[in-house]
């Protein structure tokens, strides 16, 4: 359990955050410069706040009023940096066991064998960090943090420096951490797919403040979206019952507003599946189209039309079933279609623009 209530004046904004986070992944989400990483630095003890308290599992890390500031090496936190920061002069095994030096007395900590198995790094133990791929480095960095038997895991954009294939390689491992270790994880990211896929809870930050806080579907819904950048806008839809068509290699999932077709194969999954759809991938049609390559058409009615930003207007559609889907369209299109609030529309999504990278599997 992490309890944070701190304030810190920075050059370009004043950070003031207050929240608590328990087991599972709490994502700190927002644009660059929103203060997400600063929060992690404060929890880790790499930075001192101007005021406030940080308490983890009952241990007071920071209490400025009482003059308490525990140094980083006595906080028992696992910190995973964006660029791994493995020790280049040590082997993978020595990197992994570095934290062991200080936690020998820990009776029920995780073992090296468990960590190498969990992260699939058993074959790398005798290698040097310089010879590893980016994804391997990041997995070793996660293992190194876990082996220090942390009471809380802090992950600072652990996937941001990796290409899409490396991301796909690592995400399942982070999911396993989340599901198998009973650890609070604070996860900083500005990538909506990562957050949608991993987070149990999302804290949206902007300008050093908490803007909203709740489950991903709610916080990441278009109204609370991260600003006016149309490429950053995305919606999360909760779907069920995937079925796979091996002939065409397509997966279909059910949504109250219509079936959604996805390229690629989704592993059999019982629970709900989160699908992330970018606002720029959605087309609006007034009638159900025919003779069109698009396979996914979701029914709903227009619930809001934003003020235009240049040529672009953000249209929010309340789908049947109540979820909101955002579509970025041109102002000209809105005028020519005569779109207004309450209009019945079909939202078209290209199947090829969603595949298993954008798929969030949860519970």
């Amino acid at each position: 359990m992490i309890e944070i209530d701190v304030g810190l004046a920075r050059a370009n904004f004043t950070l003031a955050v207050k929240f608590t986070a328990g087991e599972g992944v709490t994502a700190l989400f927002g644009e660059s410069g929103a203060g997400k990483s600063t929060v992690l630095h404060l929890v880790a003890g790499l930075l001192k706040p101007d005021r406030g308290r940080i308490v983890v599992n009952g241990t007071v890390f920071t209490d400025m009023a009482a003059g308490i500031f525990l140094p980083a090496h006595r906080r028992r936190i696992g910190y995973v940096f964006q660029d791994a920061l493995l020790f280049p002069h040590l082997s993978v095994r020595q990197n992994l066991t570095y934290g062991r030096w200080f936690t020998k007395a820990e009776p029920n900590g995780i073992t090296l064998d468990q960590v190498t198995e969990l992260l699939g790094i058993g074959a790398l133990l005798d290698r040097r960090p310089t010879t590893l791929s980016g994804g391997e480095r990041q997995r070793v960095a996660i293992g190194r943090a876990l082996l220090a038997s942390p009471h809380v895991l802090l992950m600072d954009e652990p996937l941001a420096a990796l290409d899409i294939d490396r991301k796909r390689e690592i995400i399942p491992y982070i999911q396993r951490l989340r599901d198998e270790l009973k650890l609070p994880i604070l996860y900083v990211s500005h990538a909506i797919e990562e957050v949608a896929r991993l987070a149990d809870r999302v804290i949206l930050m902007a300008q050093g403040q908490v803007k909203s806080d709740g489950p991903p579907q709610q916080v990441l819904s278009p109204k609370a979206g991260p600003g006016d950048d149309r490429f950053a806008r995305a919606s999360i839809l909760t779907t069920t019952k995937p079925s796979y068509d091996p002939d065409y290699q397509l997966t279909q999932v059910s949504h109250p507003a219509g079936a959604i077709t996805l390229a690629g194969r989704l592993l059999p999954q019982d629970g709900p599946i989160r699908v992330v759809i970018r606002a720029t991938d959605v087309t609006i049609a007034l009638s159900k189209p025919r003779e069109l390559s698009i396979r996914t058409a979701l029914r709903g009615k227009v619930s809001a039309i934003s003020e235009p930003l240049g040529a672009v207007v953000m249209v929010e559609v309340e789908l049947e079933g109540g979820e909101i889907l955002a579509a970025a369209v041109t102002r000209k299109a809105v005028d020519e279609l005569g779109l207004g609030e309450g209009d019945q529309v079909h939202c078209l999504v290209k199947s090829v623009s969603i595949d298993d990278r954008l798929m969030a599997i949860k519970d």
Binding site: G78, Y79, F87, Y98, W101, F102, A145
Partner: protein, 232 residues
């Protein structure tokens, strides 16, 4: 190579001893100064930096004379060290080593400081988050990563010590077997009739030693660099 006289050998061995002791003794001092200059901002930092570099720009004779004034038998520091620990510098080989150490210190500090400044300090932070207290971080992360710089600084300081002449001769004179290092011996041979052959032999020897030190350091540095090469 057996054409070396006993006098030559005395000067060679003395030079190696003086240079080794000077380098080893100045290593902890140089490391500490480099660390302070690289990592801390404090009033007087520029002054400290300037003082360390002074022997590099002052005439060596001036450095030697200052050493004589302060570390000589009657100098304040020299008298104190003689009394408390029986450590005497004037007209001893230890004085030659001290002069060589002082002259080589700026080179050593520069080299070590450069590697410390180019280190990614977040590696130290990472070690801290894993539970390592600052001294342990220094010993297991900072120091190993600075090894190439420490090696380069030591080689420079050693080479400087081998060639040091002005400060040494001013401070501890030119006593065969005690303070007469290779450069002083060469100088002496050039001052007496018929000494050219000896001077040439010693010149050849100092070239060989210098080359050997350079090549050895190059090989070591390459191996170290391979180990600690950071990735981008």
């Amino acid at each position: 190579m057996t054409g070396l006289s006993e006098e030559d050998w005395t000067a060679i061995l003395l030079s190696l001893k003086v240079a080794s002791v000077a380098t080893l003794a100045s290593l902890p001092v140089g490391l500490a100064l480099a660390y302070i200059l690289a990592r801390f901002r404090f009033p007087g930092r520029t002054l400290l930096d300037g003082l360390i570099h002074l022997p590099l720009v002052m005439p060596p004779v001036v450095t030697g004379y200052l050493l004589l004034l302060s570390f000589g038998r009657k100098g304040p520091i020299g008298a104190f060290l003689d009394e408390c620990c029986g450590l005497v510098f004037s007209f001893r080989w230890t004085g030659a080593a001290l002069a060589a150490a002082v002259m080589g210190l700026p080179l050593m500090v520069r080299a070590i400081r450069l590697t410390l400044e180019s280190q990614d300090r977040r590696l130290e932070q990472a070690a801290g988050t894993l539970g390592a207290r600052p001294l342990f971080v220094f010993a297991t992360v900072t120091l190993p990563l600075a090894l190439p710089g420490i090696l380069a600084g030591s080689i420079l300081s050693f080479a400087k010590a081998l060639g040091e002449f002005g400060a040494t001769i001013t401070f501890v004179s030119n006593i065969p077997g005690e303070t007469q290092t290779i450069p002083a011996a060469i100088y002496t041979f050039t001052q007496v009739p018929g000494g050219d052959a000896n001077a040439l032999r010693l010149t050849a020897v100092s070239i060989v030693i210098s080359l050997f030190a350079l090549i050895a350091s190059e090989i070591l540095a390459r191996r170290l660099n391979r180990q600690v090469a950071s990735f981008s």
